[in-house]
Amino acid sequence: MKHWSLCLITLFLFSPTGFGQGSKWEKHAPPPHTDVQCQTCHACPKPTKTDPCLVKCPRMHILPGHHPEQTGPNVLQMGDIASQYGPVVFAHKLHAEMSEMSGGCYDCHHYNSTAMTILSCRECHPKSRARADISMPDLKGAYHRQCMDCHRQWTHSTDCNGCHLKNEPGKTDAEAMRARELAGKVHPEVPLPTRVSYETRNQNGSYVTFFHDDHAKRFGLKCADCHKQEGCVRCHDVTKSKTADTKIREVKTQRSMEQLHEPCFSCHASDKCESCHVAAPMKAFDHARSSGWALNRFHLALSCQKCHGEKKRFTKVDTKCQTCHKGWTAAAFKHRITGLQLDETHGGLECESCHIEMNFAKPPSCAGCHEDKTYPAQRPGKMVSTTTNN
């Protein structure tokens, strides 16, 4: 014990700005941020295991990591002004689910202790507005700042009664009802667009077509990979369909060139402008058009990553069977799997006889033996059902 505290003092004296590499620290999981000072978390100069004297509100982002949203509370009731209003029912889980694209849990739980406990608002924000330490808002201010920034954007209102129900005789059950209603609620699934086409000011090609479906489903990107700081008003705006107050709405959000391109550039940084900016909106992604190889049946069902590797930049794959099908041999291959069962004459031929240079991306050629035949007008066998696999 003595040795331990001695080590702490030494570290405190000689390394106040960083957690040293000293072996004794192995017992203390190093905080994820190296710029955390001892005093940020410990109130006393000699913290011990029994008395770590942890600071209540460290005022620093030291949340070690996300916990699954299921472990957070479902619905909270805040009844601090019970004399005038019934408790405010806050659908915590519903908000946590939605927060992913707008800053996540940190948005509200901006400072936390190292002890893996998530601090609630009231643990740091004092209840009284008249107070000596005015460096952070009081509880009322903290709550409203969090709620109102989004809610006033989509309701265009600052009315109290959206959240607060006035105490009135006979209305006592209203909050309980609201709590029950919100308890089991989950955020409805967001309908994803298949394709979005943007008209830009690029003079050489004004259209950029974004294949949302491909990116989200085929390439396996997560929503927050692109939608990093998305406001709730992207979807929630009660007046969007109505004629909005033009005085407020005429100002368009200005985003710099960098901000606009940022989501694309994380993968497409080395692409030329012309690969996205073209004269007309693009058609849906077509493997045959883009790569020259039409996918059918089995290949069509595969995810892109299966052949092209993980997300981010996909690499071009050659069309040799062995590239993916290791150990593939012509002898063991049953041609009927392609939907064409070769007749006896053709079944004995080498692949190259019809598939010139073993390039399966090109249509087969009959010219090696027949002067008057072409594929697919004439077929070297019969078509079979491809829905069964034998």
Partner: protein, 296 residues
Amino acid sequence: MKQPSRRAFLKTAALAGGTVAGLSATAKAGPKNVLSPDRNGVLVDTTVCIGCRSCEYACRTAHGLPTPPLETYGDKTVFKEMRRPNTGALTVVNQYPNPTKSDLPYYVKVQCMHCDHPACVSACIVGAFSKQENGAIIWDTDKCIGCRYCMAACPFQIPSFEYEKALNPEIRKCDFCYTRTQENKLPACVDACPVEALTFGPREEVVRIAKQRMATYGNRYVNHVYGELEAGGTGWMYLAGRDFADLKFPKLGASPAPGVSEAIQHGIFAYFVPPVALYAILGAIMWMTKTREEGA
């Protein structure tokens, strides 16, 4: 807490300063103009304000002014026009567009700034105006003769006059909730604000907090605390997300500039005009002005 001796010394010094600054002639009547180190201030963070106008409601209620029901304050159409504080509303909130986030316009609450070197106090020829230890600029209705020099002198055009009243019209403006603060309560608006866009505390502390906020959330604010230095410093100070000129804040230098008003006052007293004569002259001026206004 500060040592009483130091505070007493500073008060005397401030009083002496005030006297030199042009109140010698009225020294007997002694309008209070203290610059106490303990004076309070308020930081208005216009990037936090949501434009709910709860402060307007609270202010009217606290001052016994006719107050429409709270529910009507949600009406956003009032923002179509720029409003100024007047005799019925001692504070008002105006809306300005936010060029980067159109859904989150900026709101600016306007009221008396409670200047450190108040032009109104200097201008008031009968010593009705005073600056109190807690920072509030208040006035004594019984002393006020309705000359409206304070209105002319104020760089922020704050004091208003009950023109609509024929009998006993009075000067009105925000009084920093002097009665409430004497009872250790917060100013009504500060108390009511749901988002604590208004931070009340010792002025020195308020300035420190303002700078701390700018340092922590740099890209939220323009690099300026309006009122820290303007007109010699004001009790109410502002933080903003866009240029203060765009939010209709007057561009003022750092020197307290009650210039014109002091000149008037000095002129009158320099010739030892006795108070009775003064009232006669002012009465005549007022009568003339009034007739002209009615004629117009």
